[in-house]
Amino acid sequence: MTAVATAYETIIGLEVHTQLTTRSKMFCACSADYSGAGPNTHVCPVCLGLPGVLPVINERAIESIVMTGLALNCQIAPFSKFDRKNYPYPDLMKGYQISQYDLPVCHDGWLEITVGGEHKRVGITRVHMEEDTARLLHRVDASTGEGYTLVDVNRSGTPLMEIVSEPDMRTPAEAREYLVRLRQILRYIGVSRANMEEGNFRCDANVSLRPVDAPEYGAKVEIKNMNSFRAVHDALAFEVERQARLLNAGERIVQETRGWVDESQETVSQRTKEEASDYRYFPEPDLPPMRFNEAYLERIRERIPELPEARYRRFLELGLSDYEASTLTESRDRADYYEAVMHALNVDRQRAAKLAANWTLGSVAEWANATGNDVASIPVSAERLAELIQLAEDGTITGTVAKQVFDTMLESGRGARDIVEADGLAQVSGGDELTEIVRKVISENEKAVGDYRAGKESAVKFLVGQVMKATRGRANPQVVQELLVEELG
């Protein structure tokens, strides 16, 4: 008997929980921005779940989820409501979570992803609103070795959006791309920081395998504890391999929840389906149902900025390369900055598009990478950068000098023209001054001059470099080379 490995199709669906960046929490007036705050300092009777308290809906959070739904091509339910999801756990202040069960705010949308040049739509099943739980910190008493747990209620009641995809992804790479695109959109519309490492963007994955062309899905495994996009990718890849191995060995896949362990790069079983909870959902009696009419949706729609996909296509039309357009549109900050620089340039449209792209992806990106800051917080405004580019473009300064001036602008906050004038950086473009320097370099570099005269053409490059050094980059290398050749006869 020969074993034939069956070909399997991988089915992946993702559930993303993302915190909204509203000023206050979902159902109380506490500040939702507790980063850096001491434990249990952003709390009130409502988010502590004290006896007698009642929730009040944060209308900004509802606007954010509606905007998210619209950006993800979802239907917005004309009638939606909150439900109580019952389960006991010490991180749940009321013993139930206010969530949404059968009438989520958004449903039936899609998100376009591109993997290996292929475009694909991933369905969005639903987007619903709920409240986050408190944070548990598990500790061990150093003296007794006993474990104990601390509760930080700051996170309790912060607005949380759950975005559930259809099981439309077929590879770990697609899953990763889905998350990248989703995060990009959430950040573009400004509803969430969507940062996985910070814990405000969390992802659980459902993965199953089935023989190619099989009509039914295989047993579904849910993976938790993935703290980066890379972890999602690796956990899925591991799981696909694990399941395929089991199936090939004739074993059954158990429907279960497994946790990703970063250290050992594997998933481990957490609980099986038999222990699954009954959440006893029922409509939240403390909150009236929500109704969304067309006028409301129109108001939200008007506030949605141009989304990355549309912007990417527009940038291509400006004459940018695929790389430039996609890199510039990765974040809204960067794309905004880029466009501001472009519009401030006084050159023809196509040239402006290219120049602005070079700078935004060059020196500006370098600064952002080196400092770890967003482009939006760069001390050189788009208008000032445009002024600098303009100086290089009209020949006032050389490209080399332009880069130096940019660094000085970052450090000093001074304008380009001011720096160029004060530091005497204007281009030396011929005339007596440059000729004098060229002659001086020739007289000081006998060996190179000899090489050149002996027919070693490349020696002239060395001499150009010496002249550039002597002018501190203010000379046009092209002009220098011509002068050298002329002087050397």
Binding site: P45, G52, P88, P90, M93, F282, P288
Partner: protein, 487 residues
Amino acid sequence: MTAELWRLTAHEAHEGLRDRQFTSVELTESVLARIKSVEPRVNAFITQTAELAIEQAKEADAKYEAGAATPLTGIPVGVKDLIVTKGVRTTAGSKILENFVPPYDSHVYEQLRRAGAVMVGKTNMDEFAMGSSTEHSAFGSTRNPWDLDLVPGGSSGGSAAAVAAGECLVALGSDTGGSIRQPASLCGVAGMDPTYGRVSRYGIVAFGSSLDQVGPIGRDVEDLATMLDCIGGHDERDSTSNPEPMPDLRHYLGREIEGLRVGVPKEYFMQGMEPGVTTRITETLALLEDLGAVVDRELSLPSTEHALAVYYLIAPSEASANLARYDGVKYGYSYQDGSSMWENMETTRGHGFGPEVKRRIMIGTYALSAGYYDAYYKKAQQVRTLIHQEFQEAFKRYDVLVTPTTPNVAFPVGAKLDDPYQMYLNDIHTLPAAVAGLPALSIPCGDSDGLPVGVQLIGDFFQEGKVLQAAHALERGMPWANRLPQL
């Protein structure tokens, strides 16, 4: 005269205070002395706040001096112990909250304090308002001031008994299925359950969230109007609170009821009703006619019989979630000798809750469980809608509906404790209006062998004014008015 000031109603006391016949401190001291004398027998309070009361009375007197007094300024009130009071222990009648001192105030207590009312104590109640006799209290049962061997009704039995015994002039109770009207009826005082949404529930320890409503208990209708004027109105902290402005309810008092259309639903006169109750209600209907009302005794509300089942599915379902927070982790009673977190949480609840509360948590958990939800909770909500619609139809033809508040008068302590269903039947006449969210009140309409009988008036949504108007007219024509028990 100060010795007997506790006998006054709130509006009488207000007049005395306003005219400087006595001070709030004198009035409060009179009430505190009365508490001292009768409380050992009545047990209407879980926590007495005598010191605080004197302090608040002094502030009230200053308000009268400054000409800034309102009808409740300086009036001693009792506050049901599920109404959250900052700095004053709030137990909801449960061991699980025996040491809970809230860090915030409920909306209604804020309103009372703004008005300058004086709190003399937190009144006894069935644990988490689950009960009809105040026997399900972790702090001992309250006794009926008319006969100390009898129950005062419940769950606001402490508030009703305190008002009847003169331990406060007026009190706040809460009504989920009859918890204000039934004890008011059994204790011979007036009590009102306002329209759901009329009074903010912010700071009311929740039992059945879609049913709970705070309301007043007093010795007469005018005091009910005064109290409701004070605590009612929109509060943005309660999303179910009605945004409409409060009408001036006292404006409805003293008006004629000539031509008032009164419906008497047949279903409320069932077999096994105490004959004395039937007689008093019949007399009350005759009095209404004498006053010019048009009484229709042929009204039928066939869904009435389903209200009990609807109530005992919806309220426990909501309660099963509302009571989930009491796990000993954050506040209240906490068992800590277990070997695991789960054991501690479970034992906390096992020790902390009484048997009736556990029963209802079990019923509610069951009704919401996967596979049962449609048959129980969902079906109950559908029938609730029917009851609601039936009332709405009736209010196209009637201004108020009149029924007995309870089928029987007060019963002996312990008589129904072992038979939950018999206990539940006590609320059979108060449940339908609660399930529909309608305003309803009970006023005394005479006695049956010396024990108080109550008549219930039910109004249309947010028509508290009309209900108070009819009740006020009735009260003036009734022999009972303002009788106090011998204690």
